[in-house]
Symmetry: C2
């Protein structure tokens, strides 16, 4: 069995996220496993670096799968792309070491959240930005972001039910940039909890509009209560950009 | 009556072009006139710099309309955008001189055609590029483009039926650039005939693949026969970028 490592792009708009849940849902994992099983002629599983939620996009999702085949990685990529709908594509395919696992070996992930901070709508990027008109103070947002960076218990910043699993994560960087009429937030870390990037963004936006003081952030982190953090912002502004190994 | 001049962006994918033809068609002109008539309370017409064909996009279509209103241009823009579907937006609105006419006063137009020159599909730009895998020789294409620039009879480069109207136009510039895995053609001229940019692109692509010698271009221009020029490339790669006055 050979181990193929692929980089996948998708527009998440019409999918119920990466992870397969039942047979009736339109998920990316489901789509890929159906297609790979057809290519291989036997049931074939795929592992991604992590799940992305319904409506979230990916520019650089990484996944791997095992297959007994004589195809070259290039041929494999072309074969998969032939079957994929046009809102999904494999943009790279290489043969990986037999033990490579795209989720277990991932060391960092980069997510990007795009806020269209303008009253003028964006026709061409409308499915990839969240529009909010209220002016954002980037200086304040950067102060709050600096507090969020580092290793913390992010229990307040997830929609996941309380469980025994650790909610401690390390954020290595949060960049907040003005790009034209957008405010773009780039999060880098060793991993992110369910809804974490979108709740972090919702909280930083409240700091940016002045609704919440910068000093609030430490309190939210230490009290570990979801209700104390900001709102969950829409999925469509979010994209998984890169996974590092 | 005040004269409003607006800049419009649209994704042309689901429209049958700018120009209204019948009441049942989904055209941008039809959409705007319906909406402006509702705002004004009386039948209101709109004039664009020119028609764009079905499926063609616009980043900077210019149009104007007369309305008896007390609204500021800013309010007018917001009001229109409130009614527009999300694949169309007004990105600028100013009050123009009473005699300003967006078609009659236009002095130059810029169109862009994007060719994805790669076997790897583009998920995010799929509706805005035409994918063709065969390698293009940009040097040859630029030589051919240089011959097309200037004032010529472009009768061979239009799908319009022969008529008494002049088919002489002036192309001031054709830029051909490699941008990542795309080849981007930018056409600037005083005006373009029906399908002209897409037939010019189809002809330049044939020069780029070696199917047609550079020296062919002069012959096609002088013989004025549609059959001698290259194929009409798909609408989705084309966009109206800018209109100058």
């Amino acid at each position: 069995m050979r181990n193929f490592r692929i980089i996948i792009q998708y527009e998440g708009t019409r999918y119920q996220g990466w992870q397969k849940q039942g047979s009736t849902e339109n998920t990316l994992q489901g789509k890929f496993e159906q297609l790979l099983s057809r290519i291989a002629g036997v049931e074939t599983q795929i592992h991604a670096s992590g799940r992305t939620d319904a409506g979230v996009h990916a520019y650089g999702q990484v996944a791997n799968f095992l297959m007994d085949t004589k195809m070259s990685p290039q041929e494999m990529m072309e074969q998969i792309n032939r079957y994929l709908p046009e809102d999904v594509a494999v943009i790279s395919c290489v043969e990986a070491a037999p033990r490579f696992h795209s989720r277990l070996n991932a060391v960092s992930k980069t997510y990007r959240y795009r806020i269209l901070n303008s009253p003028v709508p964006h026709v061409f990027d409308r499915k990839f930005v969240w529009q909010m008109e209220e002016k954002l103070d980037l200086g304040r947002m950067r102060q709050a972001a600096a507090i969020l960076c580092g290793t913390h218990d992010f229990a307040a910043f997830t929609s996941a039910k309380k469980s025994k699993k650790s909610t401690v994560r390390t954020i290595t960087d949060i960049r907040i940039e003005k790009v034209g009429d957008e405010v773009v937030l780039t999060f880098e870390g060793d991993g992110f909890l369910f809804h974490m990037v979108r709740i972090l963004t919702g909280t930083l936006v409240e700091v940016g509009t002045g609704k919440r003081p910068v000093s609030d952030i430490e309190k939210v982190l230490s009290q570990r209560q979801r209700e104390l953090a900001g709102p969950l912002v829409p999925a469509k502004g979010l994209a998984l950009m890169e996974v590092r190994y």
